[in-house]
């Protein structure tokens, strides 16, 4: 475990991508195969089920350290990470750790413990704690609680493996995707693709776009580019192979079961087909065209195991196809986009399925015309325009040059900060999580939380303000003198009865600190409601 803890430590603290790459290469060159498989599994989101909830971990820790619950919580709010808090609070092992177990041992023990009683789980965890250093305990706790976000992207790991195996990064990215089980696959089979059974479910790594650069339209000829609307759902791949249908989300999660609307595609799509597109809630009343529902509708479908009839009627899900990357059993990612587009158009028109649409191409003869059209994005329920080079192949990951996103400006509202809470991760022990309010007559009504958008320096200034101007303390939350005004930006607004304000925002964040505005100059609840009305009316019209 020490070797893995060391790796996590370097990945978490190093500020240079190259150091992380070297650390991973070193790990993959020296660790044993079982451990390596699990590292790949964890970094691609294939972790064992959580064997206990975090509440229990916390209780067992408190039992050992004999400190009051509130002091544990106070510590947690300062550290901003539960796994780390527990690791810091527990005593160091009495003897130098003689613990020789590797990563695979712990993860595989988790799997065997899944069905055991709580007592047995507790015993295992508490015993393990006693043998580990603080750093190892942190990593062990992280393995239990999940959420292993330690400053390394999957891309860096793929690059490390590519270097080591002398294969291309896109080949590695493809091989480690899909449906494989770390318990049964061995390291060289996974990377060399010599596994006995071909995996029919395996998706391709997604190609992701960068935000458009400023001088783009001056440099480029519009005739080389295909423009489409940028839809706001979940990016996904629909795979039909061997008479089976698989649906993957961009987070490399197999979501076939969640969207029964796609079931029919199993019979309708030809075998050996992979479509890239957007999983999105659509208004099904429109014939031959489609209108997306607000993202909030799709949200009711995510994270649910069992879907009710009501959800199916209120938030029906369709698929807007962008691209075809496997056709007739062949990987066609290297064909130019315009050829893939022809195949896609043909396929979608021949597939008679109510929820399957092709992402329409926007016709514009020059950049100014397109710029005009972009302003109407919100009217189509889209969040801007995508630009794709007509002769581009389908690349792996986020690559500059061929695909660009050109998003519309967000909606904004001026609001005052009323609550603050300490952040997590690199914002630990710093007030960085804020709640904002608008005016409703004499009262203030909270309507959004935001955690991002300020520079480190500004966060430090706000933190200082919070420490000096807090009025009351409710657990980790401080109520703050309503004095600082910020412009809050967001992508969409929907009605909500869960929120006091009656609205829910999409992607709220701080756009800028309005030093120039006083709290009595902020927007009102009325303004928000008007925005909601405008937005909803637009959503009701069809394109």
């Amino acid at each position: 475990m020490q070797q893995f803890a060391e790796l996590v430590n370097i990945l978490g603290s190093s500020t240079k991508t190259n150091d992380k790459l070297l650390a991973l290469q070193h790990y993959f060159a020296t660790a044993n195969d079982k451990d390596k498989i699990w590292v790949i599994a964890i970094f691609t989101g294939r972790r064992p089920k959580r064997i206990v909830n975090t509440r229990k971990l916390q209780d067992w820790c408190i039992e050992i350290i004999q400190l009051p619950q509130w002091l544990f919580e106070e510590s947690y709010h300062t550290v901003g990470d539960l796994a780390e808090t527990i690791a810091l609070l527990l005593p160091e092992p009495i003897a130098e750790s003689a613990n020789e177990h590797g990563l695979a041992y712990y993860l595989e023990t988790f799997i065997t413990l899944e069905k055991q009683s709580e007592e047995i789980k507790k015993q295992f965890i508490v015993d393990t704690w006693q043998q580990m250093t603080t750093n190892e305990k942190f990593v062990f706790n992280k393995l239990i609680t999940g959420g292993f976000r330690i400053g390394v992207s999957q891309k860096v790991m793929v690059n490390a493996l590519a270097k080591l195996t002398e294969l291309s990064a896109s080949v590695i990215a493809h091989r480690i995707s899909g449906n494989w089980n770390p318990l049964t696959v061995n390291y060289s089979d996974l990377l060399n693709d010599t596994g006995t059974e071909a995996d029919h479910s395996k998706p391709y790594p997604f190609y992701l776009a960068y935000a458009l650069e400023d001088d783009f339209t001056e440099k480029e000829n519009i005739n080389d580019w295909q423009a489409e609307w940028k839809w706001d759902g979940i990016r996904g791949q629909i795979i039909k192979r061997n008479n089976e249908l698989f649906v993957w989300s961009r987070g490399e999660e197999l979501v076939t079961e969640k969207f029964p609307e796609y079931n029919e595609l199993k019979d309708l799509l030809p075998s050996g087909t992979v479509l890239d597109g957007e999983i999105i809630s659509l208004d099904t009343n429109a014939v031959d065209t489609f209108m997306p529902l607000a993202f909030a509708a799709l949200q009711t479908r995510i994270g649910r195991k069992n879907i009710t009839k009501k959800q199916l009627t209120e938030a029906p899900v369709g698929f807007i196809a962008y691209d075809i990357i496997e056709y007739d059993d062949n990987d066609i990612r290297n064909l130019p986009l315009k050829e893939r587009r022809e195949l896609l158009e043909k396929l979608v028109s021949e597939t008679h399925h109510a929820g399957l649409h092709i992402s329409p191409v926007i016709v514009a003869t020059d950049w100014d015309a397109l710029r005009e059209l972009r302003l109407q994005s919100r009217n189509n329920g889209s969040e801007g325009i995508m630009l794709k080079r007509k002769d581009s192949p389908y690349l792996v990951g986020r690559k500059k040059g061929d695909w660009w996103k050109w998003k519309i400006d967000p909606l904004t509202i001026d609001a005052v900060m009323i609550y603050a809470q300490k952040g997590h991760g690199r914002r630990s022990n710093l007030y960085t999580d804020y709640t904002f309010a608008v005016k409703d007559g004499e009262k203030l009504v909270s309507f959004a939380k935001a955690y991002s958008g300020l520079t480190d320096k500004e966060f430090a200034q706000v933190d200082n303000f919070v420490k000096r101007n807090s009025i009351e303390k409710f657990g980790p939350v401080r109520t703050v003198k309503p004095e600082l005004v910020f412009e809050i930006a967001f992508e969409g607004i929907a009605a909500s009865n869960r929120h006091k304000s009656g609205v829910a925002l999409r992607f709220p964040r701080i756009n800028r600190w309005r030093h120039d505005k006083k709290p009595d100059e902020i927007n009102t609840l009325e303004d928000l409601k008007l925005m909601l009305k405008t937005y909803q009316d637009v959503n009701k019209e069809s394109i």
Partner: protein
């Protein structure tokens, strides 16, 4: 009336008519130690330990200073004042105040581990103890300094192998001197930022024996420094001044490095949780050793620490002071 009051200029003893570490100019100031949030400019008279005096002269200029030995009594009206080692930095003192049989002790900043340089912390019996609580949460547990020193040395040797300069961020008064001995043990030359060097020179001139340090001048050749050791104060971290050391690795020596998020926020290559303040256990031990019936906790996690003491049967309350609040807490002296 309380022997020491919490006034807007600082901790005030009315019977003796003096302040302890006032944050505004006063007539008489008793100073715990020479860090800038405790020793401020503008008072008419300063009382401090012999070791602290040259440091105050360096930082505050010429003033009316009186300095004393540990345990030496100074009378102000009928109040007895004496200074006792706090173990925080060179010269750092707890202030004992006694009047009509009642004893109060103001801790200033302190640590309970003997660092071999600052005179070791001595608990002083009292009725009321005013304690700092910078690291008053149980997540703060320091490793023995020798272990941290070994980590620092290994890190430096590794950097040297890779041809990188090791830049250690340490507060110029206190931490910078404390790490000198282990740094010297690597056998590599040690270079210092001007702010660090000024303190160093003052101490050497006052008879302190410290390993050799070279001042970094504008004309110092980068080749001389390459692969060796640089000590710089927190303010220099990330400044253009650092560019000349490229390729380098930065290591911050601060108790705040105990928590990963802090180290990540500072974008540092290495964090060493080496602190000149007491950790959770140190604070508890210190409080118990005073035998105080009443404890006031100031600067730091005072509300958590005083609540815990209260629950343990030691009457405690938090007070607000202006210590440790000058800068962002991560940057601040420590």
């Amino acid at each position: 009336m309380a022997l020491i009051e919490f006034s807007e200029k600082g901790l005030y003893c009315r019977k003796g008519d003096f302040y302890i570490d006032p944050w505004k100019p006063v007539k008489k100031a008793v100073i715990t130690h020479a860090h800038s949030d405790h020793a401020r400019w503008g008072s008419e008279y300063y009382l401090c330990h012999h070791f602290t005096k040259p440091l105050l002269q360096l930082r505050l200029g010429t003033n009316n200073y009186q300095s004393v030995e540990w345990n030496e009594t100074v009378m102000m009206n009928n109040v007895k004042i004496s200074l006792h080692p706090a173990g925080h930095i060179i010269g750092s003192s707890q202030i004992r105040v006694e009047c009509e049989g009642e004893v109060w002790v103001v801790s200033g900043d302190y640590k309970t581990e003997n660092d071999g340089l600052s005179s070791a912390f001595e608990p002083v019996k009292c009725n009321t103890f005013i304690t700092e609580s910078t690291f008053g949460l149980p997540i703060y547990k320091w490793k023995p300094q020798q272990q941290i020193f070994n980590n620092i040395k290994n890190w430096i040797i590794q950097n040297n192998k890779e041809g990188k300069t090791s830049v250690l961020i340490a507060y110029s008064l206190g931490k910078a001197q404390r790490i000198l001995q282990p740094l010297a043990e690597t056998g590599l030359p040690i270079f210092a930022h001007g702010a660090v060097y000024n303190i160093h020179e003052t101490l050497i001139n006052n008879g302190w024996k410290l390993p050799e340090v070279k001042r970094i001048e504008a004309h110092t050749a980068s080749e001389l420094i390459k692969g060796n050791i640089v000590i710089a104060p927190p303010g220099a971290d990330g400044s253009p001044w650092m560019k000349r050391f490229y390729p380098y690795s930065v290591g911050i020596c601060s108790g705040w490095m105990q928590v990963r998020g802090n180290a990540r926020r500072k974008n540092t290559d290495a964090g060493f949780a080496l602190s000149d303040h007491a950790d959770w256990e140190g604070l508890l031990q210190a409080v118990k050793a005073t035998g105080a019936e009443k404890v006031y906790a100031t600067h730091g996690f005072q509300s958590a620490f005083s609540r815990y003491l209260d629950e343990q049967g030691i009457e405690a309350a938090e007070i607000k002071t202006e210590y440790g609040e000058e800068d962002d807490e991560v940057k601040t002296e420590e």
